[in-house]
């Protein structure tokens, strides 16, 4: 079995904010009827609730994000993702749902520092002044689709497709260079 590596092997850059590729992250896509009691029960067993519109919830060391009216994204450790996706599928019984391990499909970045918002203000058509904590915002960064949320104090986490990880890092690196602060 070859060793799994993330898209950019954890490369980072420090300008007026620090941007870094977060390394291997487990991600499981859940496409289902979000009002389903079965889904709620399956998630509740792991200490998670179905998040409200656009919210990210935490439980049992994992995170669950609302992606669209019929889609959730579960963040877990990279190693447990294949087994967990299988378990979730089995526990849904016959109920229609698509639960897939998409860990290798995406790249995860973190933007940290007091001026983290200013990096993304240059790239995304989002009003960061009104973006609450733990609210997932799907948008675009320059020419590629991303999802981002305030994952902690002075930290924003951003995900994009793995195929555009190099482009994304280029954007973040350029936008966070010293002297490029907005305010």
């Amino acid at each position: 079995m070859p060793e799994a590596v993330s898209a950019l092997k954890g490369v980072s850059h420090t300008g007026f904010a620090t941007v870094a590729e977060a390394g291997l992250t487990g991600m499981i896509q859940i496409r289902a009827d979000l009002a389903s009691p079965r889904l709620a029960a399956v998630l509740a067993e792991r200490g998670l609730a179905v998040p409200e519109q656009r919210k990210v919830v935490t439980g049992g060391g994992r995170r669950l994000a609302w992606m669209s009216p019929d889609e959730l994204l579960l963040f877990c450790s990279y190693d447990e993702a294949p087994v967990l996706a299988g378990d979730l599928t089995a526990e849904m019984g016959g109920e229609h749902a698509l639960i897939v391990n998409v860990s290798d499909m995406r790249a995860v970045f973190t933007i940290t520092g007091a001026k983290r918002d200013e990096v993304l203000m240059k790239l995304c058509p989002v009003d960061f002044a009104t973006l609450p904590e733990m609210e997932l915002r799907r948008t675009r960064a320059a020419q590629t689709g991303v999802a981002l949320w305030r994952s902690g104090p002075e930290e924003i986490t951003l995900i994009c497709f793995r195929s555009v990880a190099g482009y994304m890092m280029g954007l973040l690196e350029t936008a966070s260079r010293k002297g490029g602060e907005i305010f």
Binding site: Q53, R54, M67, S68, P69, P125, R137, R138, T139, R140, G145
Partner: protein
């Protein structure tokens, strides 16, 4: 620049995050229809100067389709609503009538 609120995810998104999907509320004429009806369905659009109903897709966001009413002259957006409907909501029609007294209606 248009700013539309996606009724599927509640995000107020600007135009570049969305994809335009042309006129809404088209009635399909397929097999069994006359040539004139089929031609009309395929090629002829209203292209109004004023109130226009359109399909939009929140393509960089939740990925869902929705419908919007806006003015092609002033770019004023009257409202957005779910795509799972065959006609605009009554309250939206009332609102547009109030703002545009001379409006001939959506059909």
């Amino acid at each position: 620049m248009l700013t539309l609120t996606c009724p599927c995810c509640g995000v107020t998104a600007e135009e570049t995050e969305l994809t335009y999907g042309h006129e809404a509320h088209l009635k399909r004429f397929g097999p069994g229809s006359t040539d004139a009806e089929f031609e009309d369905y395929l090629f002829n659009r209203k292209n109004p100067k004023g109130v226009h109903f359109e399909r939009w897709r929140h393509s960089y966001g939740c990925g869902k389709w929705f419908l919007a009413a806006r003015s092609t002259v002033t770019l004023e957006v009257y409202g957005t609503y779910s795509a799972q409907t065959t006609e605009p909501p009554a309250e939206l029609i009332a609102k547009i009538k109030e703002k545009c007294p001379g409006w001939e209606g959506w059909q």
